[in-house]
Symmetry: none
Subunit: 154 residues, 2 copies
Amino acid sequence: MPSFKGQYEHSVDNKGRVAFPARLRKLVSPGAQDHFTVLRGIDPCLYLYPMDKWEAVEERITSVNEYTRRGRAVIRNFLRYAEDLVLDKQNRLSLPGDLMEWAGITTAAIFIGSGESIEIWSPEKLKEADEDLTFESYQNLFEQVMGGELDNEE
Amino acid sequence: MPSFKGQYEHSVDNKGRVAFPARLRKLVSPGAQDHFTVLRGIDPCLYLYPMDKWEAVEERITSVNEYTRRGRAVIRNFLRYAEDLVLDKQNRLSLPGDLMEWAGITTAAIFIGSGESIEIWSPEKLKEADEDLTFESYQNLFEQVMGGELDNEE
DNA sequence: CACTATTCCCCACTTCTCCCCACAATGTAG
DNA sequence: CTACATTGTGGGGAGAAGTGGGGAATAGTG
């Protein structure tokens, strides 16, 4: 199954709806049935998982030790900002207001295909995050990925 | 399977379409089924991978840990400038507008067979790159890379 | 129960993508 | 040299994708 890839900007209408990019839709497994889960990311953006990929994430989170305060804190703060979504008949998503606000998304959103999941950024926040992404750092990144020095910690 | 080789210039029409060189098409494995992935290169050009070759790249990228900010950044910034393409019925590619713009491709594109992949250059950028690399310095480079220190870094 | 707010389906319109047709240029076989 | 196939190039047009708004059904509130 091919990874999500590419970046696509779409406008958010005043009802909080965003078109889900058609190119990405073609990469969603039919098994996901237009069902997704969004949640806060560890960067200032939202993560969007199609249903079938989300199941793996749930397995990961349920494997966290729930009998420590650290473990409970992670579980609590991970899942409390997660929400299930379904595409409407026009292939749009209604992003929850609190998540949009947290991610700084107002009139436009940028979808970035990131392998197993999709990131949703406000254009402004993405621009900030991109300030330390020069062409040179992209070249280094490229060499890492293609060239072989990928330890799984990276 | 033979390596991609040779160089072919084709015009880009005002819909962003470029003919895929017939000579190269004959070298694409039937398993690729006219499917390709383009992405930014580490020189100011685009890289084009037939599907069967690209799959190995995806395997590498999906092995990166997606639960760290560093890993996320690697995945995001690598895949966001990549896009899947399919040849149309006239054996043409529709290059994405943002990638064309980044590579400076407007009315013409030069395909360069490069082993496992194909490079796509704007004629202007290629000329600049050629001017930076005289034949003499190419001779030295060639000897270094091919003749001697064959570590996988170069 | 009445009132408000929200959700989501449907419709309308614009833009874009891609299929199809056409044709010129090049290559190939007899 | 001629006949025919392949390749490269361009454009028209059907259908898909993106965007916005009206309005019915649903849920939340006092």
